[in-house]
Symmetry: C2
Subunit: 415 residues, 2 copies
């Protein structure tokens, strides 16, 4: 491509601009098509990534800068979801969310472990494949529910809470698996990692909102233009950094930051609109980047194809059943909503697989199969989420709502 | 810094997050302080960059990713300004803007050229220093005027129009200077570069708005969520890429994209709010990144210090006088508004210097002095912009407005 020589200093900027333009345009074209087909726009945007990515047209190649912008996308997505989530509403379903999170971790891990052994993986490899099946990408579900205006349903709160539990358990498993693969398991170090992650999350969830509520009158008095939006951005980045520092995903920090601000900014529509501008701008890069990870070249080997399909099948089934069981007592539809809401693995599964590859623990065929599973579960779930949230069994024109079911049931009751 | 080993795959993301957090927090802290001192917040945000950058605390180092995010900042800043600028309002002051742009290019170039010769620079070096003094960073002025709600004044329109002319002339000079430094000047190639830049800008400015206005009813009917915002983002990126491709700055494309949408989205406050969310998020990185470029180590050599100060002095004076003269007939206050509005060199001067350095044409001491000039002019201008836009000579409680002055005067009249 012709680029004026005088701009040589800016060639990299130019290429990034071109890549982002193509990602945005492709995402929104596909979103429009999917909306017209009454399918979830997220699926269209992820498929846009598959199409422009290395597997098909090879117009854009995932790289560091794109993956960082993609991460900003999911960070703001969870920040935005947090803004609409009052801490109390999550605490209320805490026991239930824990049940969903725990059950949704055990079953997929076991399935991944044994599938990898069946495909002649070694012990460390099997542990890694198990770990890769554990982590839910809650961003996808949050996006679908958000665009349907359903983030304030009971089951949405349970899914969000369970995703936090899920991420912490995922961290612990990943730490365990990584140290196994290095041949040295230190229970003390593991306990420290787990304790730091849990302490951080619980502390911020409990204290964050109170601190912000108390400071709100002072924040409003700042001379700074748009004080709540500005403080929100700083808190979002700050807690993302802090949570990455203690080892949980940056998006958990972003979610906690949003939740801390939820009460104080509830009526602050201007601030929410500004934040959602950033989110709407960045999220397409997150979705397209997931699609671009799909590597169809694994389909050259039949055994890898079968592995990828089996892995995907069990990734869906075990999360659906495990998390659905966590919702036992809420009725079949809500159990299905929870189950399907936890299915997408998205960027989290991909990151686990990348760590396994970088540690030299997993073979390329396993890596390829996990990538396929991560993208496929993310594409499969949204239509089912839409279905189970709009399905109307009793024909009264609204989705079925089992009445008066106690959704605050704790783990003990169903455990 | 401790980072859990399992996150090794994400160390780079972590570091970027930390850097952006520090930039944002420092920028907004300084903005608050400057607002309290009744000084322009932009100056505080640029100084935040000086403080956390390599010159002082060395907390954050400018790098590729930061500079790309900074560029997004100025792209969205100009896109946002474009959204508030109807094409007609710029066309009306076209002759005047051309006069301002041309005069504001000639004087600084000549000054830079002779200063470099006086400091024993060679011919190619002198040409480059001249070129570095030419380019105005309109983002800074637009930011100050925008935050004062003065973007719809006559002089703001003249400054915006002149900045477009200025950028095109800057491109032509830079092409000329680059080919001189390579020892081969091709008038045909130069003419082609100039023609492409002018044709692109004029074509988009004339046609863009009409096309969008005609398509507006169809855009509104898209199934896509937030259709105008989404199309706006795509157009902004698309025209940024296109303008970079023909050789003018990406921000010119972004400004033209905003302007094309200005009429169709005039009443669309939701869309403007979403866009300004993105702008407010990204602009601090642009400002802080400018400040981080300042390299105080040049102050070790007295002759370089003097060079930097002389360069800065003449950079301010020649733009102020040159552009001010372009406003001849509008009265002293408006002339001063225009003159001071064109003073900041910001990122544009820095890019020219970087190109000179990468071509091996300019020595490090000249590079350091130009960086100093670019940052210093950007820090000096905002308080004066504020002053000349709020100065009230006749004591009637409002800024002086020379009445009934014809601001559409063309270049011929004053030439």
């Amino acid at each position: 491509m012709h680029i004026p020589t005088v701009l040589a200093a800016n060639v990299e900027h130019f290429q990034v601009l071109v890549a982002l333009f193509l990602m945005l345009a492709a995402a929104k074209l596909m979103a429009e098509i999917f909306e017209r087909l009454r399918q979830p726009a997220v699926v269209g945007e992820i498929l846009a990534g598959v199409i422009i990515g290395p597997s098909v047209l090879a117009l854009v190649k995932p790289d560091d800068i794109i993956s960082i912008i993609a991460e900003f996308g999911v960070i703001f997505l969870l920040f935005n979801v947090g803004l609409e989530t009052k801490p109390q509403s999550i605490f209320k379903v805490g026991g239930r969310a824990t049940a969903v999170g725990v059950l949704g971790v055990i079953l997929p891990f076991v399935a991944g472990y044994f599938i990898a052994l069946a495909w002649e993986g070694n012990f460390a490899e099997a542990m890694f494949i198990g770990a890769a099946l554990v982590a839910t990408s809650v961003g996808i579900t949050a996006r679908v529910l958000g665009s349907m205006g359903l983030l304030d349903t009971d089951t949405a709160k349970i899914i969000l809470g369970a995703a936090v539990i899920d991420d912490i358990l995922g961290l612990i498993i990943l730490s365990l698996v990584s140290s196994v693969s290095k041949g040295s398991v230190s229970p003390a170090a593991l306990a420290k990692t787990a304790a730091a992650a849990i302490a951080f999350t619980v502390f911020v969830a409990l204290v964050g909102s109170r601190v912000i509520n108390r400071l709100a009158p002072r924040i409003a008095k700042l001379k700074l233009d748009k004080p709540f939006f500005t403080l929100g951005l700083i808190l979002c980045f700050g807690l993302s950094v802090a949570s990455a520092y203690v080892g949980v995903a940056a998006i958990i920090g972003a979610f906690l930051a949003g939740m801390a601000l939820a009460e104080a900014t509830e009526e602050n529509h201007g601030m929410h609109k500004l934040t959602s501008g950033v989110t709407e701008f960045l999220v397409p890069f997150f979705l397209v980047n997931i699609g671009m990870q799909l590597d169809l070249s694994i389909f050259r080997e039949t055994s890898t194809v079968v592995l990828a399909l089996v892995l995907t099948f069990f990734a869906v089934i075990t999360k659906f059943i495990g998390c659905g069981l966590g919702g036992y007592g809420l009725g079949a539809q809500k159990m299905a909503q929870i189950g399907v809401g936890m299915v997408p693995r998205g960027e989290v599964g991909i990151v686990v697989a990348q760590i396994g590859l970088s540690l030299g623990v997993i073979e390329p065929r396993f890596f390829g199969a996990v990538l396929f599973m991560a993208v496929a579960t993310t594409l499969i779930a949204p239509p089912f989420i839409k279905f189970f949230y709009t399905f109307d069994r009793d024909g009264d024109g609204t989705p079925d709502e089992p009445e008066d079911v106690d959704i605050s049931g704790d783990f003990a009751r169903i455990g």
